[in-house]
Symmetry: C2
Subunit: 240 residues, 2 copies
């Protein structure tokens, strides 16, 4: 597999073409940003850890019947994925109130939601990823009704699968962000990443934060938290 020209550089990843049709190489960076890019920094070895963590999650989800863009973990910072066109709708799944949800709705951080909450945001750094709903998505033609049905169903299934494995790791899945993509054949599959950059993980017992909030809120021991998530996942899933 040859790494060819870079197609896109995001805040935490670079995407490269490869010599294989419809296969991209994703390279995970150590760069960390928060508050829509207003806060910038580096988390040592984050790219290596997130590449491993995301690989574990994607592999697990595939085994449980979720279609993802993941092909395989290649080396420390790279994985191969199926080429997709990203649906410009970020999906946020929330089990416990934290972050913007807690603030916007006046809920105490840590309030368990009576029912899982899905939120959709327009993927736009320029506009600050504003919250939208299915009517905006239809009016702006961001995704078809059928695509949104698939995305909704898959997001809720993914939540169930992740919560189950994380529970074995002594971790609460507070909330997380997903992005989906369309393959050449128009199939909707999970894309982007699943990692402490895109999820809120709390230790089940101590409620200690084990995710990017440690960076966002200057809580220290950021690397240790990511490392600990990886360690627990590798322990819970022996042949990960």
């Amino acid at each position: 597999m040859e790494k060819l020209e870079m197609l896109y550089e995001g805040k935490a990843k670079k995407i490269f073409k490869t010599n294989e049709a419809n296969v991209y190489l994703v390279e995970y960076k150590d760069d960390a940003t928060a508050f829509n890019g207003q806060k910038k920094g580096t988390i040592q070895s984050k790219g290596i850890m997130n590449n491993k963590i995301a690989s574990i999650f994607f592999k697990l989800l595939e085994e449980k019947g979720i279609k993802t863009h993941f092909i395989k973990h290649v080396d420390d910072r790279s994985m191969l994925v199926k080429a997709v066109q990203i649906v410009p709708v970020e999906v946020i799944v929330r089990n416990i109130a934290a972050g913007t949800l807690a603030k916007r709705l006046g809920l105490e951080e840590g309030t368990v939601m009576q029912k899982t909450v899905l939120e959709f945001c327009l993927k736009s750094d320029e506009l600050g990823d504003p919250m939208i709903n299915n009517y905006h998505i239809a009016a702006l033609d961001l995704a078809s009704e059928g695509e949104m049905e698939t995305i909704t169903k898959e997001a809720l299934k993914i939540n169930d699968i992740l919560r189950e494995v994380l529970d074995k790791c002594g971790i609460e899945l507070v909330d997380f962000k997903l992005e989906f993509g369309r393959t050449k054949d128009g199939e909707i599959i999970l894309a982007d990443e699943i990692s402490p950059d895109t999820c809120r993980f709390w230790d089940k017992t101590t409620k200690e934060k084990m995710d990017k909030d440690r960076f966002r809120r200057d809580l220290g021991k950021v690397e240790d938290a990511y490392q600990e998530v990886l360690r627990r996942l590798e322990e819970a899933i022996p042949n990960a």
Copy 2:
């Protein structure tokens, strides 16, 4: 009908108990506020005009099969309504991009939406009426799934009815806000008001604003605009 103690004073209306069970008296004020109460002022005779305009709209909607809280226009500033418990979800119906929608999604004001957009906001001055979706509504138990189905269906029907009559008045219905209430019997009916305070009305030809945006944006001739909406409605609906 006797007007008894005041139950509630809002930004534009006062609600009084009456000597009849389950009947309230609504008194429309001239007070105008914008930007969640940050801007305050008075629109001369607004209460009288909005009371008439809302009465015309409610009567029309009732005739078209929409259940509303409206009983009758009593005098200049008052109408009688059925007592309801307000569902704490504001419903915004948008046909053309304007205001916060245009700003949030980076759309030019005046962009016609390909499909009608419904938005739901948590009715909370304290939180600035944040946008929510059906998942938040379920998780916070603000309304049942069945109630939200009724509210959604009714809001879209109301949009069709209002657009038709306003078209005859040479007015474009850009967007509007609705509130629904639960009667003692648990029935969902339209409540609050429909007026230039709660709708965006644009002259079909000149695109001139005929609503509270004239106050919000200091465009002048606020009273004239409200008066003109009333005049055109009375002309279009002879026995209004």
